[in-house]
């Protein structure tokens, strides 16, 4: 399974939020909190379900309780892919 990049996450979150391609926030500031990037808890829940669907990997919301930034999300997710 292909590893997730920040660009992949950005594309998914942009679609979730209905933003156009000019939104480059995640790649530019991967260590900002999701809230500071404009993504609230609903956008994150939506992201989570899209990631599960697109990558076919299961994880629980509790696994993500500590994840606050895009970089952390991508690292967490790729470590799951490696362990699978």
């Amino acid at each position: 399974m292909r590893q997730m990049t920040l660009r992949d996450l950005q594309d998914i979150m942009r679609e979730c939020a209905g933003e156009d391609e000019s939104a480059q926030s995640i790649e530019e500031a991967p260590d900002e909190s999701f809230a500071d990037l404009g993504y609230d808890s609903l956008a994150l829940l939506e992201t989570q379900s899209r990631v599960k669907r697109e990558y076919g990997v299961e994880f629980s919301e509790d696994d993500l309780a500590d994840i606050t930034t895009p970089r952390e999300f991508v690292e967490f997710f790729n470590s799951l892919l490696l362990a699978a």
């Binding site: 209905g18 939104a23 999701f34 990037l37 808890s41 609903l42 500590d66």
Partner: protein, 413 residues
Amino acid sequence: MTTPGRETAVPHELPPALLMPGQGAQYPGMGTGLYRDLPGFAAILDEVFDLMGPAGTELRSDWLAADPALPMEHVLRSQPLLFAIDYALGRLLTGLGLRPAVMLGHSVGELAAATLAGVVDLRGAVRFLLRRVSHLARVPEGGMVAVAASRAEVTPYLRPEVDIGAVNAPRQTVIAGPGPALAATADALRQAGVTCAPVFSLTPFHSNVLAPVVDVIRRALAGTPLRPPEIAMISGYTARRLTDAEAVDPMYWARHDTDPVLYWPALESLLATGPHLMIECGPGQGLTTLARRHPDVRSGRCGVLSLLGPPASGPGGEAGHFAAAVARLGLRMPRGTVEHGCSAVRQARLHAYANGECGRRPVGGHLRARVLAASEDRDQRRARHPHGYLRRVDSHPHRHPDPPHRGRGHVHL
């Protein structure tokens, strides 16, 4: 190169726009830290509570109590407290010399904006609000659910009695209605693969369930003098500049409870008039978080700023966050506002925040596999972000919510 949306990148010479949050933004303990630490804020809030009479005394003690009699999302708590905190923060800022160019209120936040704009005086606004919530407390219980889809995508799924309550962003629509019909609508959306999460509310605001009280609410306002706004307002209901005729029409205000809040269209109208610095003038940072998605904020043409910070940082962080926001606005905390009643340690901390010596959390987590992180590291992170950002979806949105301080399954708007 500007980093989109960062509070540190706020160009404070931009005309300030106050965004005033409503239902969904409330959380237990909101504003209590600033109330304890900033006597100037406490004085304005106490003025509001005093105008509410015995109901205000009860409201204040329940708000400050560790174990309140009514949950924060109850209409008798959330609505008057959101109004009071939005209004007090706005008056505090104008008292420090801020001149808002425009205001945009979400739901009950628009009443707070109207009060600041002089449409209604504080006494009249408080009397109207108390009469309104006493009627709302008697309507059938229901709720609101945030849906990660556009209004057009959501509309075909609406069951009878369920309505669009708010258009918060291109793909964030809030639906409202009585419990069973709302749950059935949310279930249908979930089965279609659409993400839903309950909003903190026991009342189906902005739905036709509230139609029977619209006329009562209009009459509650009929004896109150209404004047054209002295500060420009963007209506959350027409998504255009509030006209003088609308401002003085009791029916305009009464229909708020059944009409949807058009926050995103209103935000677009506001920004179409030029770049602004948008200030979240109320609890949390839900409205500015959504505003960060706007292309004008992404590009750095507009700035955003919250006054109390995220709910997760708790009441203890409010005074520091507020002082930092005031400093970024180029305003000065008046002598006696901060110092009076503060310990020496707190004074030093507030001054450190105001001078930008602290206030941003360190960035961490580089190139570490989160799944293998040591447990003590997890505990440290949890202490910093007690709720995290990702929460479990509650599969039963119609059920009485958990105490919201646990944050489970609910979204802050």
